[in-house]
Amino acid sequence: MILAAFIVTALAALGLIAVSRTHRQMNSICIGEAAVFLGLEIWLLLSGQIPVLSLVLGNQYFFIDHLGLYEALIASIIFLLAAIYARGYVDNLLESRELGRGSLKLFYVAWAFLLALIVFAFFSDNLALFWIFTELTTVVSAILIAILYARDNIDAAIKYIFIASVSMLFSFVGLIFLFQISRSTFDPGTLNWTVLMQQAPAFPAGMMLAAFALLFIGFAAKSGIFPFHTWLPEAHVRAPSAVSALLSGVLLNVGIYGIIRIFALVHRTTAVSTVSILLLVFGLLTVGIAAISMLPQKKLKKLIAFSSIENMGLILVGLAIATPVAIFWTLFHVMAHSFTKAGLFFSAGILHRQYHSPLSADAVDDMHDVFRFQPVAAWGIILGGLAIIGMPLFPVFLSKLFILTQLFTVSLPALVLLLVLLFIAAASFGYYVISTFTQVSQPGPDAHDIVAYKTPAGMQWPIIILIVMIFILGTVFTSGETGFLNTIVAELMF
């Protein structure tokens, strides 16, 4: 059983971390766990036996379909790179006493556990199980946020937990509604997505709408959709950058994944037209608030965090269009965004180490001479920034373009509005980067000497790998890749 392999790996990782003593060991175990996960997923991918159904017992709780595998692959890759990155990063945190040496074990346990939880969330067929895993990811990632030795971190973690959990409770009510719907349509009721998809056309629209709206609240909070996004900038800013990359690159996907799943259900019913409008409105509001909030930002990580919100909004808009092409590119955008954003956070982390920017979300970064001190990180920010605002040769460009072309079939004003908002976001990003990176101090005796942080290669390679990866993603399309995405679209029955 493939799932057993995952479980065993995760348990082994947790156990090994529990007995290991040094930072190096724990970090290596996390790298190993992610690598094994990745290997298993690639094996699954190549073996071609997906979808794997009926993984546990009679009642089907787990399954692996293309979408789940896709998301799990993204998650594992980012976890792998983040773990490599974390070694140097956490070393420095320890040196600067921002992280207590005693918290180290907790940090890595949470880390290893988070990966397992996320992957299992993606492999859950039962939506309630998915809900539980999602809820647990909140808990575990909150630990990762709160781990630093600062009150601001606890504050951010509390915000994250409260907003996400409170909203997730509404999601659960939505699940109950969904269950009630399924029970009233066929006996016995179930929350298994695969079964629900079969039965969905018979579901009553009104109830389905209510179920969707309630479910949406929770998953929207997990994925940082307006007005539930408020936790996101603060958590991303304060978390250690390796964790920020996970939050933005992986954890947001969990919420989006949930929305995709239930939207696929709704799409089979007549409630879809109303839901599409709902999604479109929320998507545009999200992009809008994020783009406009980016403009006056003076803090790099906060800016990147808002950019994540903006991209989540864009994904929502893509979903709302609900044509197969739009869904295809929305899925592509999920991946593009994850990798790009991880690269950006890695780079921001190096700059954070260099300049020791204050943790508080409102404090202003004081950066100068970035090219002299941290050329790799600076180029990471520049190229990543160009990628995230949608320059060609990078994948976001394509997904943006096609989502926009598809949006035109839905609504012209929405298209224009979205374009303007994307422009504002891009301009804000450019404005920040230009005005920060051109700060150069005159070398002289009176210049307060800032010592160049010797970035370990382990922190630079993930950035380079990610940039090369997104470059390849944006330029090379194999038939396997498009076929895979098309299969997902077909499985979602769009």
């Binding site: 915000k159 907003i163 709408l209 007005p227 900038p233 980016m294 373009l401 926009l404 301009a427």
Partner: protein
Amino acid sequence: MIQETLFVIALLVFVAGILIPLATASRDQRIFRIVSHGCTVIGSAALGILALLVLLTGDGLSWTLYQPLPGCSLSVTIDRLAAFFLLLIAAVSACVALYTAEYVEHLEGGSRRNLLCACTNLFILAMALVVVSANTFAFLIFWELMAGCSFLLVMYDYAGPETRKAGIFYFVMTQLSTLFVLLGIVLLYGQTGSFAFTRTGVSLIATLAFIALLIGFSIKAGIIPFHKWLPYAHPASPTPISALMSGVMLKIAVYGLLRFLLDVFSPDLWWGILILILGIVSAVLGIIYALKEYDIKAMLAYSSIENTGIIFTGIGLYVIFASSGQPVIATISLLGALFHALNHAMFKSLLFLTAGSVVHATHTRDIEHMGGLVHRMPCTSALFFVGALAIAALPPLNGFASEILIFISFFSSVAVADPLFKVFLFLCLGLFALTSALSAACFVKAFGSIFLALPRSPESSRAQEVPFLMLLGPALLASACIVLGLFAAQLFLLVGLSVPIPDMFLVGLLLLAMAFLTFAVLYFTASREVRVTGTWGCGTPSLKPAMEYSGHGFSEPIEIIFSTVYRTEMKNERKFFDAKNCIFAEGTADIRLMKIFEEYLYLPVARFSYLAATKISRFQNGCLDTYLLYVFCAVIAIIVYLGWLA
């Protein structure tokens, strides 16, 4: 077949030119940069030959480079329009590369210069690929690539004090341009369902797409009121980049507009009027602003705005005549616009390069601190002089050859349109004439202040002539200016177009003959005594640089005459000893030129958005209770929506 081979060679050479300096980015050695520039020259040469082949034979090239996804491919089609612009790119790029090979060695930045070379190559390649794109998808990709590269190039001297402002302006305007181009292309895709350049019918969507594309291309072409990035970006960027951006990139925007107008839309009359008005306004205001600039590169930038305005004027006339059933005049206008695009590329890059040499020699961009360089930099001054003659549209150089085409179409317009429209065209003609006269005044000022009379600063009295390569590139461009001017009529015949352009070669011969005859007559009759002495200065013993007529002084009359356009602002601050403001204590008075577009259009928009954004970002106030309240309100709203609206 030969076309394909040439294209592939050019492509590979350019890629090599990009990769070689990138791969050696850590090593600050001249050889890699030389190789890179060599690649540019070779690649440009290949492109140029290809373009000439296509132009002369008419045998195009159509080829799919790469198809990432079904339905959208990076395809190449070289027809005569594309070939024309390809020729333009190739010619300017090759000359600029020759110049840069030397210039880059005098730049600061160590191994960053390798990146400059790589990025320049990528920039040129991207421009060439924009031009040969066979569909809007490829067009958009290369367009963006071009924008991205040029942005990085503008930011080369990132630590410079003006570069930040320039970079922000350029970045924002580029993004805005992208927004509109993207919108236009998306609308067209929605209309036709494909990315191909296919003709659309007349519809609201097509009109909207046209407006969007027009704005997008106008921003890139620096049409007023979207021009503001030009005078910031050009001074900030390294000289060869200014030359490429001004000489070539602006033309790419023109190409975009033409490509869509010719192949996609069925233009309406008012489209033409719109383009014409944009063009004329840019031309007049551009040159008026150029006259008051004392930063040599900003002046050239404004002059670029003027020239793009002229090109747009030609395009506008083309659309007007084409849509009112006058194909012959329409063709003349179009050829005028195209030819002016080519000519402007030549003389503007020539001027930028020579201006760069001057800046290199004098270490200042302020023309008030130059002067007297004609003795110290004779070759550069001669080259700049050719450029100045050409840009002032003086016969028999190329600037005149293209402007006369637009004049001719203006002149022939009167016979065709309806009365009111005729009056409108006449007014435009008047403004157009004003433009070319003012540009002559502008370049008299420029050449006079920079090269003539006495040096006005110690740096410029110590200036030295630049090395050979920095003269070779401009020299090629200068000879192109002369050839394109003298043989304009013959060149048009060569490519099989008949235009009513005067035989400039004949005129040139006549000029030469007259000058020679006069010289001969004087040689035999006149006194040959020559005495060199001081300038007469009303009895003052010696002439000081401060006594010369300055650039400011030169343009003063024009500034006063057009004071309504310049909008000076006077500030008086007075202080008094007593409360009733009777006894004057001290005060300051200050007159300054207002940057109208910046102060009334750009900055208010920026300030407003910033203010609004600050207000909206207070949404994120850091308080958990507020956040939970948002969630609460959202939940209530959703329930309301579900219960009553759904």
